[in-house]
């Protein structure tokens, strides 16, 4: 009985949210009701992989374009962020040197990076990757750094006592000790990358969930905006869960 209630509670929450949406749509003429949203977008959902035109595609196909872009940008970001985090964690001098720059660069919005990327690379695709990489790398840098600094003195003593070489100390002690922190960083970074992709697609008009959202806004099909928003939320949630799963696997090791 208690289990059943526990399972039903989220359903009740979702129901309440949909109810709020419905009540709001009664009062604002331009906001489609849940039913109308479903009617107008079911072709995107029921044929999720269809391709009818550049922007007129099934929702999964659109999400897939965005995910591929996020994947590249995220990989680029963590490929820079992970070594940087290790370096800053190991060396207080480097940390001192770069901390102010990091603190300044970190709060910059993806919307601000994107134009710079367009100036640097001339094309929208590399500009989007640039924006994703630059925005999403910070949690990984900071978590890796914190992870290295949190390595207990005991492990450093082991390295000293066994006279491990630098390389062995890195691969056998620093990396395994920091891995859980790194994965927390990756999870946060992926979340940010997903935020950035939507913004960058909206600005550059490339096919993907964000591009679709912006186009449908311009063509006044508001129910598709809601479809896109829900898709972004669900995919983001799934990504976070996947990374969380990988993370807890790692911690259990």
């Amino acid at each position: 009985m208690k289990r059943l209630v526990q399972l039903l509670l989220p359903v009740v929450g979702i129901g309440l949210a949909v109810g709020l949406w419905w009540v709001t749509s009664l009062n604002i003429a331009d906001l489609p009701s849940p039913m109308r949203t479903w009617e107008e977008s079911k072709v995107y959902v029921l044929e999720p992989l269809a391709k009818r035109g550049e922007m007129d595609q099934g929702i999964l196909r659109l999400a897939f374009y965005s995910l591929v872009r996020v994947c590249y940008g995220f990989l680029l970001g963590i490929a820079i962020a992970t070594p940087l985090g290790f370096l800053l964690g190991v060396s207080p001098t480097l940390m001192r040197m770069f901390d102010p720059i990091m603190q300044i660069l970190r709060p910059i919005s993806p919307l601000a990076w994107l134009p710079l990327g367009l100036v640097l690379f001339q094309k929208s695709e590399p500009a989007a990757l640039f924006a994703i990489a630059v925005c999403s790398m910070w949690p990984t840098v900071l978590n890796t750094m914190a992870g290295v600094r949190a390595i207990p003195q005991d492990y450093w003593n082991v390295a000293k006592v066994l006279r491990l070489s630098r390389l062995t100390t890195f691969t056998r002690i620093i990396v395994p000790a920091t891995l859980p922190h790194i994965f927390t960083g990756y999870r946060l970074s992926l979340g940010i990358a997903w935020l950035v992709i939507v913004a960058s697609e909206m600005l550059t008009g490339t096919p993907g969930v964000g591009g679709f959202l912006w186009q449908e806004y311009n063509s006044l099909v508001y129910s598709h905006i809601l479809l896109a928003i829900l898709t972004i939320g669900v995919v983001g949630f799934a990504l976070d869960r996947l990374m969380g799963l990988a993370e807890s696997r790692l911690r259990a090791m």
Binding site: V161, R163, L164, T168, R172
Partner: protein
């Protein structure tokens, strides 16, 4: 000059008014092959002393020479066993030991390193737990792995920092016994410095016991020799007269170091010069 020679050692942490002077003017000499225990109460600076002599921590002042050379970092021929095991939790017991062997003898092929690691783990009775990780081992078993790791590099010098401090009394007893056997079983002379707060443990294992005064500004008291043949056993020491005398002397010096200058020697009968002169139960192992 003794094999390990320490003089004028001082160490403080922090600076100014908040500075903690842990050690001041500590001197110590240990002969080659000798087993010396430094006994003192918790927080008196024993571990700091050991960390300095082992080369893990730099002293503020003073000198440490081992085999005539000034100490520079951890020596290749030294092994350390810590109270908290200091095993790497992401590796199996075998890999923890193999890592030490691999660092000490990188020229050996991996399979041979692994065989050696297994051999040392078998010596401490962990032959069937080699693939378990530290998290899957009890405290006593973990410390056995740490001991195997220390002996696996065939050290000339062994530093033991409260090696059994975190173990329950029963485990403690059996591990002490095993350490005593391992020390006497090696074909080479191993020079050992052990830090402990347990007088029995010191009597069981040492040739000499050095009481340490309470910090701050801790120094070492007059050493008490332990004139009993080795290996010794806990049960044998329990009823042995000489062991009792040593025990009394160490305890006296430790408590004196808190209150007043050393007077223990005057109150106690002198120790026999020759260890063999007193009737003792001979070598016994359980």
């Amino acid at each position: 000059m003794a094999f390990i020679e320490v003089s004028g050692l001082s160490k403080s942490y922090g600076s100014g008014a908040s500075a903690r002077h842990v050690l001041s003017g500590v001197a110590l000499s240990v002969e080659r092959g000798e087993f010396v225990s430094v006994v003192g109460s918790m927080g008196c600076g024993k571990s700091t002393l050991l960390n300095i002599v082992a080369g893990l921590v730099d002293a503020d002042a003073g000198q440490v020479t081992i085999g005539g050379e000034a100490l520079q970092g951890v020596r290749k021929d030294a092994a350390i066993v810590f109270q908290n095991y200091s095993l790497l939790p992401w590796f199996s017991a075998l890999e923890n030991v193999r890592l030490a062997i691999g660092a000490a003898a990188p020229q050996w092929p991996r399979p041979y390193q692994r065989d050696q690691a297994r051999r040392y783990l078998e010596m401490v009775g962990l032959g069937n737990a080699v693939h378990r990780r530290p998290g899957q081992l009890s405290g006593g078993m973990r410390q056995r792995v740490a001991i195997a790791r220390a002996f696996a590099i065939r050290p000339e010098i062994l530093f033991l920092d409260e090696p059994f401090g975190a173990l329950d009394a029963l485990t403690r007893g059996s591990l002490q016994q095993e350490l005593a056997l391992m020390c006497s079983a090696t074909d080479r002379q191993v020079t050992t410095i052990m830090i402990t707060n347990n007088v029995e443990e010191a009597i069981l294992l040492s040739d000499r016991i050095i009481p340490m005064t309470r910090g701050p500004r801790a120094t070492l008291g007059t050493p008490v020799p332990v004139p009993l043949p080795k290996p010794r056993s806990v049960s044998q020491l329990l009823h042995d007269e000489d062991a009792g005398r040593v025990r009394a002397m160490v305890v006296e010096r430790l408590t004196d170091s808190v209150r007043r200058p050393l007077r223990a020697a005057r109150r106690l009968p002198p120790l026999p010069a020759e260890p063999q002169s007193v009737g003792l139960v001979s070598v016994e192992s359980e």
